[in-house]
């Protein structure tokens, strides 16, 4: 187990890109300080030796597939209710390729 984990400004920009959020020059100082303070606190569990399996569900596992029969669908108008940009029956987004 190596020492304390500290994130650099370059790494912050890398992760911001993964999150699809941009960080300005003025914000990055404060973000670096906050993130590293929080990570130092998270560090308290890194050194724990626990020989139990990880737990991701606290509930009983449910087999809950329904019968393969047509069920209700969303009305077309409802499907478009909250969309930002529409052209007839198409959702419009910004340019994806190129």
């Amino acid at each position: 187990m190596s020492g304390k984990i500290v994130i650099s400004k370059e790494e912050i920009l890398h992760y911001a890109k993964l999150c699809r959020i941009s960080v300005s020059e003025t914000e990055i100082e404060k973000l670096e300080k906050d993130i590293n303070e929080i990570l130092e606190y998270f560090d308290t569990i890194r050194s724990l030796q626990l020989d139990v399996e990880p737990m991701t569900y606290v509930t009983e596992v449910n087999e809950s597939l329904r019968e393969d029969e047509p069920a209700g669908t969303l009305a077309e108008d409802d499907a478009f209710k909250n969309v930002g940009d529409r052209e007839e029956r198409w959702f419009v987004s910004g340019q994806v390729l190129g």
Partner: protein
Amino acid sequence: MVRFRPSAGVSSILEQAGVKEGFTDPVEKVYRALEKIEATKELNAFITFDREGAVRKAEEIKRRMDKGEKLGSLAGLIIAVKDNISTRGLRTTCSSKMLENYVPVYDATVIERIKREDGIIIGKTNMDEFAMGSSTETSFFGPTRNFFDHSRVAGGSSGGSAVATACGAVELALGSDTGGSIRNPAAFNSVVGLKPTYGRVSRYGLIAYGSSLDQIGPMARSILPAALLLQVIAGKDLRDSTTSSQPVPNYVEEALKKPDGLRIGLIKEGFENVDEKVSSKIYEAIRVLEKAGCLVEEVSMPSMKYALPAYYIIAMAECSSNLARFDGIRYGGKRAEGRWEDQLVKIRTECFGDEVKRRIFLGTFVLSAGYKEDFYIKACRVRRKIHDDFKLLFKDFDVLATPTMPVLPWKIGGLLSPLEMYMMDVETVAVNLAGLPAISLPAGFADSLPVGLQLIGDRFNEATLLRISYTYECETGFTEWLGNAG
């Protein structure tokens, strides 16, 4: 304090509890509620009202009353709903600029169930943005103010629901709880707030923060109405595969049973690093329960002190995934312009607040290659340890107790760093990690500010929690501490 006698029918129970007032004109009730909300608007508890919908529902109930038709168990009760729960045709914002204009096209399961029982939904309440916070200060619509001291926080993230309940504008409210978000504001406003067992209440229609942690639950000024609302919303839902098939007991009847001989374990670690003014009120509250026939003993749970970092790692990891869907296109979007990638980044940067961005960022980090094993997987192992330790404790105890909050409500803007805010959840998060039910009860005042007692139950044992809680209510008369509310 006279103990209410069990009587036939929930209506008469609620009348005895002073909730339904012998059932006056529901339309008039709605207008009075709206006046109350207007009179207390400085508290900023509400984001959106549904005046027409509430009046329409009240008029329908009145028509059916006049015809002598059978009414639902929530008939005539005015209910507020936290703004991360989908309500068809009624704006649902999660207190975020990202969803400022989002109007759901469907009702959450809990909303369907409330409407079926003739509950009257009057509006959507303020919260921390996307439920990320412990004070309702991260809301895009400004903070909600504490009912007892308007310069202080209401607690969070269900601050709006707690204050709407405390001030008497509504009789019942729905909150959601991922790391304490029902119990925290309940404690800070001297009301009752219950987080059910994970899987007890459907999350279909709840805008997700931490999917393995979130639960919707009731808030009220007293126990029996909270028990009734839980009754209505609980139960299996085919649209949420994490809901349980465990039968739903009659929670109101269960609450009325005596708690003699029930064993309460005081978790020692829950009293460390707690303001002495808070812990002394908790000990007083526990003595009330001892006098009422409960057996109280101190117990240790060493893994409790690792609950907070484990919780935040898991919650942030889950939220980074859950909030990836917000791309500015689908949920109240903008006109498309330029490259999709650029617009996506622009919208997410502008429309998420700082705390949300911080958590998405950290969640991405703890799941990334090279760090996932050390942080996320390790946190999941801590989670199993905490879950197993609670299970052992419930062999010897029926209910466990701690303070709900380590401090009294602080001044709005008073906490200096994000980490200081996270530390406020130290008492509540272990419960979400283990998926257990827990309730916060009013435990009196210190420096004229409310203190909450947290009781934790075994899985699907809300009945025992409600039983002890109702006895506690009868012994203390805590509903009167809210003054002339309602």
